[in-house]
Protein backbone atom coordinates (compact mmCIF):
# COMPACT_ATOMS: atom_id res chain seq x y z
CA UNK A 1 0.00 0.00 0.00
CA UNK A 2 1.26 3.47 -0.88
CA UNK A 3 2.70 5.34 2.07
CA UNK A 4 2.42 8.62 0.18
CA UNK A 5 -1.32 8.83 0.77
CA UNK A 6 -0.67 8.71 4.51
CA UNK A 7 1.78 11.58 4.69
CA UNK A 8 0.52 14.92 5.94
CA UNK A 9 1.52 18.20 4.33
CA UNK A 10 2.59 20.54 7.14
CA UNK A 11 3.90 23.37 4.95
CA UNK A 12 5.17 23.87 1.40
CA UNK A 13 8.42 22.15 2.39
CA UNK A 14 7.58 19.93 5.37
CA UNK A 15 5.75 16.60 5.29
CA UNK A 16 4.95 14.29 8.15
CA UNK A 17 4.60 10.54 8.41
CA UNK A 18 2.37 10.48 11.52
CA UNK A 19 3.41 8.56 14.59
CA UNK A 20 0.57 6.10 14.16
CA UNK A 21 1.49 5.18 10.60
CA UNK A 22 3.06 1.91 11.71
CA UNK A 23 3.41 -0.01 14.94
CA UNK A 24 6.31 0.91 17.13
CA UNK A 25 6.83 4.48 15.94
CA UNK A 26 7.90 6.45 19.00
CA UNK A 27 7.91 9.81 17.22
CA UNK A 28 6.63 11.11 13.88
CA UNK A 29 8.90 11.22 10.83
CA UNK A 30 9.43 14.53 9.04
CA UNK A 31 10.56 15.05 5.45
CA UNK A 32 11.84 18.38 4.17
CA UNK A 33 11.02 18.59 0.46
CA UNK A 34 9.28 20.69 -2.14
CA UNK A 35 6.21 19.18 -3.78
CA UNK A 36 8.36 18.27 -6.79
CA UNK A 37 10.90 16.45 -4.61
CA UNK A 38 8.34 14.59 -2.51
CA UNK A 39 6.61 13.43 -5.70
CA UNK A 40 9.86 11.97 -7.02
CA UNK A 41 10.94 10.45 -3.70
CA UNK A 42 10.88 6.63 -3.61
CA UNK A 43 8.30 5.14 -1.26
CA UNK A 44 11.15 3.16 0.30
CA UNK A 45 12.62 6.39 1.68
CA UNK A 46 9.42 7.18 3.56
CA UNK A 47 9.18 3.62 4.87
CA UNK A 48 12.78 3.73 6.02
CA UNK A 49 12.38 7.03 7.85
CA UNK A 50 9.25 5.63 9.52
CA UNK A 51 11.35 2.64 10.64
CA UNK A 52 13.97 5.01 12.09
CA UNK A 53 11.18 6.53 14.19
CA UNK A 54 10.87 3.18 16.01
CA UNK A 55 14.44 3.17 17.36
CA UNK A 56 14.64 3.22 21.17
CA UNK A 57 15.49 6.59 22.64
CA UNK A 58 14.69 8.66 19.55
CA UNK A 59 13.67 12.21 20.47
CA UNK A 60 11.14 14.53 18.83
CA UNK A 61 11.15 13.16 15.26
CA UNK A 62 13.03 11.21 12.63
CA UNK A 63 14.04 13.55 9.81
CA UNK A 64 14.68 13.06 6.12
CA UNK A 65 16.45 15.73 4.06
CA UNK A 66 15.30 16.96 0.62
CA UNK A 67 17.93 14.87 -1.16
CA UNK A 68 16.77 11.70 0.64
CA UNK A 69 16.99 8.40 -1.18
CA UNK A 70 16.82 4.85 0.06
CA UNK A 71 19.84 3.52 1.88
CA UNK A 72 20.55 0.64 4.25
CA UNK A 73 18.28 0.81 7.29
CA UNK A 74 18.27 4.60 7.44
CA UNK A 75 17.54 6.48 4.25
CA UNK A 76 20.44 8.51 2.91
CA UNK A 77 19.49 11.98 4.16
CA UNK A 78 18.31 10.56 7.50
CA UNK A 79 18.73 12.28 10.86
CA UNK A 80 17.92 10.76 14.26
CA UNK A 81 18.58 12.39 17.61
CA UNK A 82 18.80 10.00 20.55
CA UNK A 83 18.72 10.29 24.28
CA UNK A 84 22.29 9.16 25.07
CA UNK A 85 21.21 7.50 28.33
CA UNK A 86 18.20 5.56 27.06
CA UNK A 87 18.78 5.46 23.34
CA UNK A 88 20.70 3.36 20.85
CA UNK A 89 23.54 3.94 18.43
CA UNK A 90 23.11 2.37 14.99
CA UNK A 91 25.89 1.93 12.39
CA UNK A 92 23.13 2.11 9.76
CA UNK A 93 22.35 5.62 10.97
CA UNK A 94 25.85 6.79 10.17
CA UNK A 95 26.50 4.95 6.95
CA UNK A 96 29.24 2.48 6.13
CA UNK A 97 31.45 5.13 4.56
CA UNK A 98 31.94 6.75 7.96
CA UNK A 99 32.73 10.48 7.68
CA UNK A 100 32.10 10.56 4.00
CA UNK A 101 32.33 14.30 3.54
CA UNK A 102 33.14 17.34 1.47
CA UNK A 103 36.14 19.64 1.42
CA UNK A 104 36.20 22.95 -0.42
CA UNK A 105 39.49 24.61 -1.27
CA UNK A 106 39.85 28.17 -2.52
CA UNK A 107 42.45 29.65 -4.84
CA UNK A 108 43.22 33.23 -5.87
CA UNK A 109 43.29 32.05 -9.49
CA UNK A 110 40.63 33.05 -11.98
CA UNK A 111 39.16 30.88 -14.71
CA UNK A 112 41.04 32.80 -17.42
CA UNK A 113 44.31 31.75 -15.73
CA UNK A 114 43.22 28.14 -15.22
CA UNK A 115 41.53 27.48 -18.57
CA UNK A 116 44.72 27.21 -20.68
CA UNK A 117 46.12 24.68 -18.19
CA UNK A 118 42.99 22.69 -17.43
CA UNK A 119 44.16 19.58 -19.34
CA UNK A 120 47.44 19.52 -17.50
CA UNK A 121 45.77 20.14 -14.14
CA UNK A 122 43.17 17.40 -14.56
CA UNK A 123 45.75 14.89 -15.82
CA UNK A 124 48.19 15.62 -13.03
CA UNK A 125 45.49 15.50 -10.35
CA UNK A 126 44.24 12.21 -11.80
CA UNK A 127 47.75 10.76 -11.68
CA UNK A 128 48.63 12.03 -8.21
CA UNK A 129 45.37 11.28 -6.41
CA UNK A 130 44.58 7.58 -6.76
CA UNK A 131 40.98 6.96 -7.79
CA UNK A 132 38.98 3.86 -8.60
CA UNK A 133 39.41 0.22 -7.67
CA UNK A 134 42.61 -1.02 -6.06
CA UNK A 135 44.89 2.01 -6.35
CA UNK A 136 46.82 2.52 -3.11
CA UNK A 137 47.79 5.92 -1.70
CA UNK A 138 51.35 7.23 -1.59
CA UNK A 139 51.49 7.19 2.23
CA UNK A 140 53.40 4.07 3.26
CA UNK A 141 53.02 3.51 6.98
CA UNK A 142 53.08 0.59 9.35
CA UNK A 143 49.85 -0.71 10.84
CA UNK A 144 50.98 0.68 14.19
CA UNK A 145 51.43 4.16 12.71
CA UNK A 146 48.10 3.86 10.90
CA UNK A 147 46.46 3.19 14.27
CA UNK A 148 48.01 6.47 15.50
CA UNK A 149 46.63 8.25 12.43
CA UNK A 150 43.13 6.98 13.18
CA UNK A 151 43.32 8.46 16.66
CA UNK A 152 44.76 11.82 15.60
CA UNK A 153 42.97 12.47 12.31
CA UNK A 154 44.08 15.38 10.14
CA UNK A 155 46.48 16.52 12.88
CA UNK A 156 48.63 13.46 12.14
CA UNK A 157 49.02 14.76 8.57
CA UNK A 158 49.89 18.30 9.66
CA UNK A 159 52.52 16.95 12.07
CA UNK A 160 54.05 15.03 9.16
CA UNK A 161 54.15 18.15 6.98
CA UNK A 162 51.03 17.49 4.89
CA UNK A 163 49.14 20.67 5.73
CA UNK A 164 49.00 23.59 8.14
CA UNK A 165 47.21 24.65 11.31
CA UNK A 166 44.80 26.78 9.27
CA UNK A 167 43.56 23.61 7.53
CA UNK A 168 42.72 22.10 10.91
CA UNK A 169 41.00 25.26 12.09
CA UNK A 170 38.71 25.09 9.07
CA UNK A 171 37.79 21.42 9.51
CA UNK A 172 34.82 20.19 11.51
CA UNK A 173 36.07 19.38 15.06
CA UNK A 174 39.51 20.55 13.85
CA UNK A 175 39.94 17.32 11.94
CA UNK A 176 39.88 14.99 14.94
CA UNK A 177 37.04 13.43 16.88
CA UNK A 178 38.25 12.96 20.45
CA UNK A 179 38.01 9.59 22.23
CA UNK A 180 38.79 7.57 19.13
CA UNK A 181 40.38 4.33 20.29
CA UNK A 182 41.88 1.96 17.76
CA UNK A 183 41.86 -0.86 20.32
CA UNK A 184 38.21 -1.25 19.29
CA UNK A 185 39.05 -1.55 15.59
CA UNK A 186 39.59 -5.00 14.05
CA UNK A 187 42.86 -6.03 12.44
CA UNK A 188 40.93 -6.53 9.22
CA UNK A 189 39.81 -2.90 9.20
CA UNK A 190 43.40 -1.77 9.82
CA UNK A 191 44.65 -3.95 6.96
CA UNK A 192 42.00 -2.58 4.59
CA UNK A 193 42.55 1.07 5.45
CA UNK A 194 46.31 1.18 5.89
CA UNK A 195 47.11 1.56 2.18
CA UNK A 196 44.16 3.81 1.34
CA UNK A 197 45.17 7.11 2.95
CA UNK A 198 45.10 9.82 0.28
CA UNK A 199 42.82 7.99 -2.14
CA UNK A 200 39.57 9.23 -3.62
CA UNK A 201 37.82 5.88 -4.04
CA UNK A 202 35.01 5.29 -6.50
CA UNK A 203 31.20 5.38 -6.75
CA UNK A 204 29.99 8.93 -6.30
CA UNK A 205 33.35 10.18 -5.03
CA UNK A 206 35.05 12.83 -7.08
CA UNK A 207 37.34 15.83 -7.19
CA UNK A 208 36.31 18.87 -9.16
CA UNK A 209 37.87 22.12 -10.31
CA UNK A 210 35.08 24.68 -10.20
CA UNK A 211 34.44 28.30 -11.13
CA UNK A 212 32.33 30.80 -9.26
CA UNK A 213 30.76 33.06 -11.87
CA UNK A 214 29.48 36.46 -10.69
CA UNK A 215 25.91 35.53 -11.72
CA UNK A 216 26.06 32.49 -9.42
CA UNK A 217 26.76 34.45 -6.27
CA UNK A 218 23.54 34.43 -4.26
CA UNK A 219 24.65 36.12 -1.04
CA UNK A 220 27.45 38.58 -1.85
CA UNK A 221 28.14 39.48 1.75
CA UNK A 222 28.58 35.88 2.90
CA UNK A 223 30.50 34.97 -0.27
CA UNK A 224 33.03 37.71 0.49
CA UNK A 225 33.35 36.62 4.11
CA UNK A 226 34.05 33.08 2.91
CA UNK A 227 36.80 34.43 0.62
CA UNK A 228 35.15 34.81 -2.80
CA UNK A 229 36.30 38.27 -3.75
CA UNK A 230 37.44 37.96 -7.39
CA UNK A 231 35.08 37.40 -10.36
CA UNK A 232 35.35 33.88 -11.83
CA UNK A 233 37.46 32.67 -8.94
CA UNK A 234 38.53 29.02 -9.08
CA UNK A 235 37.94 26.50 -6.29
CA UNK A 236 38.52 22.78 -5.83
CA UNK A 237 35.89 20.60 -4.21
CA UNK A 238 36.18 16.93 -3.37
CA UNK A 239 34.03 14.21 -1.90
CA UNK A 240 35.33 11.06 -0.23
CA UNK A 241 35.40 9.26 3.11
CA UNK A 242 37.07 6.59 5.19
CA UNK A 243 37.32 4.09 2.30
CA UNK A 244 37.47 0.37 3.12
CA UNK A 245 38.46 1.16 6.70
CA UNK A 246 35.10 2.69 7.60
CA UNK A 247 33.25 0.01 5.68
CA UNK A 248 35.01 -2.77 7.57
CA UNK A 249 34.22 -1.14 10.93
CA UNK A 250 30.58 -0.77 9.88
CA UNK A 251 30.39 -4.40 8.78
CA UNK A 252 32.21 -5.72 11.87
CA UNK A 253 29.84 -3.97 14.26
CA UNK A 254 26.74 -4.71 12.18
CA UNK A 255 27.57 -8.40 12.52
CA UNK A 256 28.35 -8.16 16.24
CA UNK A 257 25.24 -6.04 17.04
CA UNK A 258 23.01 -8.54 15.23
CA UNK A 259 24.31 -11.27 17.51
CA UNK A 260 23.80 -9.43 20.82
CA UNK A 261 20.98 -7.03 20.13
CA UNK A 262 18.03 -9.20 21.04
CA UNK A 263 19.48 -11.75 23.52
CA UNK A 264 21.56 -9.23 25.47
CA UNK A 265 19.54 -6.02 25.20
CA UNK A 266 16.06 -7.15 24.18
CA UNK A 267 16.13 -4.87 21.14
CA UNK A 268 13.83 -5.73 18.26
CA UNK A 269 14.22 -3.87 14.97
CA UNK A 270 12.25 -3.71 11.75
CA UNK A 271 15.25 -4.06 9.45
CA UNK A 272 18.57 -5.85 10.02
CA UNK A 273 20.42 -2.81 8.68
CA UNK A 274 19.07 -0.90 11.70
CA UNK A 275 21.09 -3.15 14.02
CA UNK A 276 21.79 -1.14 17.16
CA UNK A 277 23.11 -1.28 20.70
CA UNK A 278 22.32 0.92 23.67
CA UNK A 279 24.68 3.89 23.39
CA UNK A 280 25.89 3.56 27.00
CA UNK A 281 26.42 -0.22 26.76
CA UNK A 282 29.86 -1.77 26.30
CA UNK A 283 28.93 -2.76 22.74
CA UNK A 284 27.59 0.71 21.93
CA UNK A 285 30.68 2.44 23.31
CA UNK A 286 33.02 0.04 21.50
CA UNK A 287 31.41 0.93 18.18
CA UNK A 288 31.39 4.65 19.06
CA UNK A 289 35.15 4.60 19.71
CA UNK A 290 35.89 2.57 16.57
CA UNK A 291 33.57 4.76 14.48
CA UNK A 292 35.49 7.83 15.62
CA UNK A 293 38.70 6.23 14.34
CA UNK A 294 37.06 5.98 10.92
CA UNK A 295 35.95 9.62 11.18
CA UNK A 296 39.58 10.57 11.84
CA UNK A 297 40.89 8.39 9.01
CA UNK A 298 38.54 10.21 6.62
CA UNK A 299 39.75 13.63 7.83
CA UNK A 300 43.34 12.44 7.29
CA UNK A 301 42.42 11.06 3.88
CA UNK A 302 41.02 14.42 2.75
CA UNK A 303 43.99 16.25 4.30
CA UNK A 304 46.46 14.20 2.23
CA UNK A 305 44.39 14.85 -0.90
CA UNK A 306 44.56 18.59 -0.15
CA UNK A 307 48.34 18.28 0.11
CA UNK A 308 48.41 16.66 -3.35
CA UNK A 309 46.20 19.42 -4.76
CA UNK A 310 48.67 22.00 -3.44
CA UNK A 311 51.56 20.10 -5.05
CA UNK A 312 49.84 19.84 -8.42
CA UNK A 313 48.76 23.50 -8.61
CA UNK A 314 52.23 24.54 -7.51
CA UNK A 315 53.86 22.43 -10.25
CA UNK A 316 51.49 23.58 -12.97
CA UNK A 317 51.59 27.31 -12.13
CA UNK A 318 55.23 27.26 -10.98
CA UNK A 319 54.42 29.14 -7.80
CA UNK A 320 54.04 28.23 -4.15
CA UNK A 321 50.59 27.24 -2.85
CA UNK A 322 50.67 30.35 -0.64
CA UNK A 323 51.30 32.58 -3.65
CA UNK A 324 48.40 30.92 -5.49
CA UNK A 325 46.19 31.53 -2.46
CA UNK A 326 45.36 27.84 -2.03
CA UNK A 327 43.58 27.61 1.30
CA UNK A 328 40.90 25.44 2.72
CA UNK A 329 37.47 26.98 3.04
CA UNK A 330 35.94 24.16 5.08
CA UNK A 331 35.69 20.40 5.53
CA UNK A 332 32.45 18.92 6.78
CA UNK A 333 31.21 15.40 7.20
CA UNK A 334 27.81 14.05 6.20
CA UNK A 335 28.07 10.55 7.77
CA UNK A 336 28.58 10.68 11.54
CA UNK A 337 27.11 10.36 15.00
CA UNK A 338 28.09 12.92 17.62
CA UNK A 339 27.14 14.20 21.01
CA UNK A 340 25.82 17.75 20.62
CA UNK A 341 23.75 20.14 22.68
CA UNK A 342 20.30 20.91 21.27
CA UNK A 343 17.12 22.38 22.64
CA UNK A 344 14.56 19.68 23.36
CA UNK A 345 11.17 20.84 24.66
CA UNK A 346 12.60 24.18 25.74
CA UNK A 347 15.62 22.74 27.55
CA UNK A 348 19.18 22.41 26.34
CA UNK A 349 20.23 18.76 26.41
CA UNK A 350 23.16 16.64 25.36
CA UNK A 351 21.95 14.31 22.63
CA UNK A 352 23.42 11.78 20.23
CA UNK A 353 22.87 13.02 16.67
CA UNK A 354 23.01 10.47 13.83
CA UNK A 355 23.49 12.10 10.44
CA UNK A 356 23.60 9.84 7.41
CA UNK A 357 23.91 11.71 4.13
CA UNK A 358 23.04 14.85 6.05
CA UNK A 359 25.29 17.81 6.85
CA UNK A 360 25.73 19.58 10.15
CA UNK A 361 24.77 23.24 9.61
CA UNK A 362 25.53 25.23 12.76
CA UNK A 363 24.11 28.76 12.92
CA UNK A 364 25.97 32.07 13.31
CA UNK A 365 27.31 32.45 16.83
CA UNK A 366 28.21 28.79 17.37
CA UNK A 367 31.38 28.43 19.38
CA UNK A 368 32.27 25.25 17.52
CA UNK A 369 32.94 27.33 14.41
CA UNK A 370 36.33 28.88 13.64
CA UNK A 371 36.35 32.58 14.69
CA UNK A 372 36.50 33.62 11.02
CA UNK A 373 33.09 32.07 10.33
CA UNK A 374 31.40 32.66 13.69
CA UNK A 375 29.31 35.54 12.36
CA UNK A 376 28.49 33.81 9.09
CA UNK A 377 27.24 30.41 10.19
CA UNK A 378 28.95 27.15 9.33
CA UNK A 379 29.92 26.65 5.69
CA UNK A 380 27.88 23.80 4.22
CA UNK A 381 29.14 22.10 1.07
CA UNK A 382 26.53 20.36 -1.08
CA UNK A 383 27.97 18.43 -3.98
CA UNK A 384 25.93 18.06 -7.14
CA UNK A 385 26.32 15.81 -10.14
CA UNK A 386 29.30 16.41 -12.42
CA UNK A 387 26.96 18.05 -14.96
CA UNK A 388 25.02 20.46 -12.83
CA UNK A 389 27.33 22.07 -10.29
CA UNK A 390 27.47 22.28 -6.52
CA UNK A 391 26.57 24.76 -3.79
CA UNK A 392 28.10 26.52 -0.82
CA UNK A 393 25.57 27.37 1.87
CA UNK A 394 25.68 28.56 5.46
CA UNK A 395 24.00 27.34 8.62
CA UNK A 396 21.05 29.38 9.80
CA UNK A 397 19.41 30.10 13.19
CA UNK A 398 16.09 28.86 11.82
CA UNK A 399 17.64 25.39 11.43
CA UNK A 400 17.10 24.50 15.11
CA UNK A 401 14.03 22.44 14.19
CA UNK A 402 16.25 20.17 12.09
CA UNK A 403 18.89 19.98 14.84
CA UNK A 404 21.01 22.26 12.66
CA UNK A 405 21.24 19.79 9.82
CA UNK A 406 20.77 20.20 6.09
CA UNK A 407 21.10 18.25 2.84
CA UNK A 408 24.37 16.77 1.53
CA UNK A 409 24.02 16.37 -2.22
CA UNK A 410 21.63 15.85 -5.08
CA UNK A 411 20.37 12.38 -4.21
CA UNK A 412 19.97 9.69 -6.84
CA UNK A 413 16.78 9.13 -8.79
CA UNK A 414 18.01 6.36 -11.09
CA UNK A 415 19.72 3.07 -10.21
CA UNK A 416 23.32 2.58 -11.25
CA UNK A 417 22.50 -0.38 -13.46
CA UNK A 418 19.76 1.55 -15.24
CA UNK A 419 22.06 4.55 -15.78
CA UNK A 420 24.67 2.19 -17.21
CA UNK A 421 22.07 0.85 -19.64
CA UNK A 422 20.97 4.32 -20.74
CA UNK A 423 24.30 6.16 -20.95
CA UNK A 424 27.80 5.49 -22.23
CA UNK A 425 30.76 6.79 -20.21
CA UNK A 426 32.63 7.97 -23.33
CA UNK A 427 29.54 9.83 -24.65
CA UNK A 428 29.14 11.59 -21.33
CA UNK A 429 32.81 12.57 -21.38
CA UNK A 430 32.42 14.07 -24.90
CA UNK A 431 29.15 15.82 -24.04
CA UNK A 432 30.67 17.39 -20.92
CA UNK A 433 33.76 18.51 -22.83
CA UNK A 434 31.47 20.42 -25.21
CA UNK A 435 29.98 22.13 -22.14
CA UNK A 436 33.48 23.07 -20.97
CA UNK A 437 33.89 20.31 -18.36
CA UNK A 438 36.92 18.07 -18.74
CA UNK A 439 36.38 14.67 -17.10
CA UNK A 440 39.01 12.05 -16.34
CA UNK A 441 37.63 8.76 -15.02
CA UNK A 442 39.12 5.52 -13.75
CA UNK A 443 36.27 3.54 -15.36
CA UNK A 444 33.86 4.45 -18.17
CA UNK A 445 31.01 2.25 -16.88
CA UNK A 446 31.37 3.93 -13.48
CA UNK A 447 31.26 7.32 -15.24
CA UNK A 448 28.00 6.36 -16.96
CA UNK A 449 26.46 5.60 -13.59
CA UNK A 450 27.17 9.14 -12.42
CA UNK A 451 25.39 10.86 -15.33
CA UNK A 452 23.61 14.05 -14.34
CA UNK A 453 20.21 12.53 -15.22
CA UNK A 454 20.74 9.88 -12.52
CA UNK A 455 20.46 12.60 -9.87
CA UNK A 456 17.81 14.93 -8.52
CA UNK A 457 17.79 18.57 -9.54
CA UNK A 458 20.29 20.12 -7.12
CA UNK A 459 18.73 23.58 -7.57
CA UNK A 460 15.46 22.14 -6.25
CA UNK A 461 17.23 20.50 -3.28
CA UNK A 462 18.91 23.78 -2.34
CA UNK A 463 15.63 25.64 -2.82
CA UNK A 464 13.99 23.23 -0.36
CA UNK A 465 16.70 23.76 2.27
CA UNK A 466 16.30 27.52 1.89
CA UNK A 467 12.50 27.46 2.12
CA UNK A 468 12.69 25.15 5.14
CA UNK A 469 15.15 27.57 6.75
CA UNK A 470 17.70 24.85 7.42
CA UNK A 471 20.51 26.50 5.45
CA UNK A 472 21.12 29.62 3.41
CA UNK A 473 22.52 29.44 -0.15
CA UNK A 474 25.68 31.50 -0.66
CA UNK A 475 26.83 30.61 -4.17
CA UNK A 476 26.82 27.96 -6.87
CA UNK A 477 30.04 26.41 -8.17
CA UNK A 478 30.24 25.28 -11.80
CA UNK A 479 32.59 22.40 -12.72
CA UNK A 480 35.29 22.84 -15.36
CA UNK A 481 37.38 19.77 -14.55
CA UNK A 482 36.38 16.52 -12.87
CA UNK A 483 38.16 13.42 -11.65
CA UNK A 484 36.08 10.34 -11.03
CA UNK A 485 36.98 7.08 -9.42
Amino acid sequence: MSIKKDIKKISDVTWEVPKGYQDGMLVPAMVYATEKLIDSMEEGVLRQIANVATLPGILKKAICMPDGHSGYGFPIGGVAVMDPEEGVISPGGIGFDINCGMRLVLTDLTYSQVKPKINLLVNKLFNKIPAGLGRPGFIKISQKEFRRLTEKGARWCVEKGFGCEDDLLKTEERGCFADADSAFVSKKAIERGCKQVGTLGSGNHYLEIQVIKPENIIDKNLAEKFGFTVPNQVAVMFHCGSRGFGHQIGTDYLQSFLKVMEPKYGLKIRDRELASAPFRSKDGQSYYKAMRCAVNMAFANRQIILHKIREVFSEVFKASPEKLGIRQLYDVSHNTAKIEVHEIDGKERKVLVHRKGATRAFPPGSFDLPPLYRDCGQPVIIGGSMETGSYLLAGSKSGADAFFTTAHGSGRVMSRKKARGLFQGRDIQKKLLKKGILVSAASYPALAEEAGAAYKDIDEVVKATKLAGISKPVLKLIPVGNIKG
Binding site: S70, G134, R192, Q248, D271, R272, K417, S443
Partner: protein, 142 residues
Protein backbone atom coordinates in the same frame (compact mmCIF):
# COMPACT_ATOMS: atom_id res chain seq x y z
CA UNK B 1 26.13 -17.73 -16.04
CA UNK B 2 23.92 -18.68 -13.08
CA UNK B 3 23.37 -15.11 -11.93
CA UNK B 4 21.98 -11.86 -13.21
CA UNK B 5 22.50 -8.26 -12.25
CA UNK B 6 19.40 -6.64 -10.79
CA UNK B 7 18.47 -3.21 -12.10
CA UNK B 8 16.12 -1.65 -9.61
CA UNK B 9 16.68 -3.27 -6.25
CA UNK B 10 18.95 -0.50 -5.03
CA UNK B 11 19.05 3.01 -6.39
CA UNK B 12 22.46 3.93 -4.97
CA UNK B 13 24.24 0.64 -5.32
CA UNK B 14 24.24 -2.60 -7.28
CA UNK B 15 22.61 -5.98 -6.77
CA UNK B 16 22.53 -9.50 -8.15
CA UNK B 17 20.39 -12.60 -8.07
CA UNK B 18 22.17 -15.98 -8.19
CA UNK B 19 20.86 -19.52 -8.29
CA UNK B 20 22.30 -23.06 -8.21
CA UNK B 21 21.36 -26.66 -7.53
CA UNK B 22 23.50 -26.89 -4.42
CA UNK B 23 24.33 -24.45 -1.66
CA UNK B 24 28.06 -24.83 -2.43
CA UNK B 25 27.49 -23.88 -6.07
CA UNK B 26 25.37 -20.92 -4.95
CA UNK B 27 28.34 -19.60 -2.98
CA UNK B 28 30.60 -19.93 -6.04
CA UNK B 29 28.04 -18.22 -8.30
CA UNK B 30 27.50 -15.42 -5.82
CA UNK B 31 31.24 -14.79 -5.57
CA UNK B 32 31.46 -14.59 -9.36
CA UNK B 33 28.39 -12.32 -9.58
CA UNK B 34 30.10 -9.93 -7.17
CA UNK B 35 33.41 -10.09 -9.01
CA UNK B 36 31.65 -9.39 -12.32
CA UNK B 37 30.76 -5.90 -11.07
CA UNK B 38 34.39 -5.09 -10.38
CA UNK B 39 36.10 -6.90 -13.25
CA UNK B 40 34.74 -6.38 -16.77
CA UNK B 41 36.79 -9.21 -18.28
CA UNK B 42 36.39 -12.15 -15.90
CA UNK B 43 38.45 -14.44 -18.17
CA UNK B 44 41.49 -12.25 -17.66
CA UNK B 45 41.84 -13.40 -14.05
CA UNK B 46 44.74 -15.79 -13.56
CA UNK B 47 44.77 -18.20 -10.66
CA UNK B 48 48.17 -17.45 -9.21
CA UNK B 49 47.31 -17.08 -5.55
CA UNK B 50 45.29 -19.38 -3.29
CA UNK B 51 43.59 -18.14 -0.12
CA UNK B 52 42.04 -20.50 2.43
CA UNK B 53 38.78 -19.45 4.04
CA UNK B 54 37.23 -20.98 7.15
CA UNK B 55 34.02 -19.47 8.51
CA UNK B 56 31.43 -20.25 11.16
CA UNK B 57 28.02 -18.59 11.37
CA UNK B 58 24.65 -19.30 12.92
CA UNK B 59 22.66 -19.05 9.69
CA UNK B 60 23.33 -19.93 6.08
CA UNK B 61 22.50 -16.32 5.15
CA UNK B 62 25.16 -14.90 7.43
CA UNK B 63 27.59 -17.52 6.14
CA UNK B 64 27.18 -16.21 2.59
CA UNK B 65 27.38 -12.64 3.89
CA UNK B 66 30.68 -13.38 5.68
CA UNK B 67 32.04 -15.31 2.67
CA UNK B 68 31.44 -12.45 0.24
CA UNK B 69 32.73 -9.95 2.77
CA UNK B 70 35.95 -12.00 2.98
CA UNK B 71 36.46 -11.54 -0.77
CA UNK B 72 35.90 -7.77 -0.41
CA UNK B 73 38.50 -7.72 2.38
CA UNK B 74 41.23 -9.34 0.23
CA UNK B 75 40.52 -6.88 -2.59
CA UNK B 76 41.36 -3.91 -0.35
CA UNK B 77 43.90 -5.40 2.05
CA UNK B 78 45.97 -7.40 -0.46
CA UNK B 79 44.77 -5.96 -3.82
CA UNK B 80 43.63 -9.48 -4.75
CA UNK B 81 40.79 -10.26 -7.12
CA UNK B 82 39.47 -13.71 -6.31
CA UNK B 83 37.20 -16.37 -7.74
CA UNK B 84 35.74 -19.08 -5.56
CA UNK B 85 36.42 -22.81 -5.71
CA UNK B 86 33.54 -24.95 -4.52
CA UNK B 87 33.72 -24.84 -0.70
CA UNK B 88 32.66 -27.50 1.75
CA UNK B 89 29.64 -26.37 3.77
CA UNK B 90 28.40 -28.34 6.74
CA UNK B 91 26.12 -27.94 9.74
CA UNK B 92 27.04 -29.15 13.20
CA UNK B 93 24.76 -28.35 16.08
CA UNK B 94 23.61 -24.75 15.86
CA UNK B 95 26.33 -23.64 13.46
CA UNK B 96 27.11 -23.67 9.75
CA UNK B 97 30.75 -24.17 8.76
CA UNK B 98 32.53 -23.28 5.54
CA UNK B 99 35.92 -24.56 4.48
CA UNK B 100 37.02 -23.31 1.10
CA UNK B 101 39.59 -21.80 -1.18
CA UNK B 102 39.65 -18.63 -3.23
CA UNK B 103 41.93 -18.34 -6.26
CA UNK B 104 43.06 -15.29 -8.15
CA UNK B 105 45.78 -12.70 -8.49
CA UNK B 106 46.84 -9.16 -7.66
CA UNK B 107 45.09 -6.38 -9.55
CA UNK B 108 46.85 -5.80 -12.86
CA UNK B 109 45.93 -2.34 -14.15
CA UNK B 110 47.04 -3.26 -17.68
CA UNK B 111 45.25 -6.59 -18.08
CA UNK B 112 42.20 -6.20 -15.88
CA UNK B 113 39.27 -4.13 -17.02
CA UNK B 114 38.36 -2.60 -13.67
CA UNK B 115 34.89 -1.24 -13.16
CA UNK B 116 33.18 -0.80 -9.81
CA UNK B 117 34.84 -0.93 -6.41
CA UNK B 118 32.65 -3.07 -4.15
CA UNK B 119 33.06 -1.70 -0.63
CA UNK B 120 30.69 -3.91 1.33
CA UNK B 121 28.07 -6.62 1.18
CA UNK B 122 24.85 -5.34 2.71
CA UNK B 123 21.91 -6.96 4.46
CA UNK B 124 19.45 -4.74 2.58
CA UNK B 125 16.99 -7.14 0.88
CA UNK B 126 19.58 -9.88 1.45
CA UNK B 127 18.10 -13.31 1.09
CA UNK B 128 19.29 -16.90 0.75
CA UNK B 129 16.61 -19.54 0.30
CA UNK B 130 15.95 -22.99 -1.03
CA UNK B 131 13.08 -23.24 -3.48
CA UNK B 132 13.43 -25.52 -6.49
CA UNK B 133 17.05 -24.37 -6.52
CA UNK B 134 19.12 -22.53 -3.96
CA UNK B 135 18.94 -18.81 -4.63
CA UNK B 136 20.43 -15.61 -3.25
CA UNK B 137 19.64 -11.93 -3.62
CA UNK B 138 22.42 -9.56 -2.62
CA UNK B 139 22.87 -5.77 -2.63
CA UNK B 140 26.46 -4.53 -2.77
CA UNK B 141 27.63 -1.14 -1.57
CA UNK B 142 29.75 0.65 -4.18
Amino acid sequence: MPYRHLTDLSISDVAFFAWAKTIEELFVDSAEAMLSYGLGNLDSLRKKKIISVKLTEKTIEMLLFAYLQEIVFYKDAKQLLLKARKPVISKKGDFFYLDGKLKGEKIDFKRHSLELDIKAVTLQNFKVEKKENWQARVVLDV
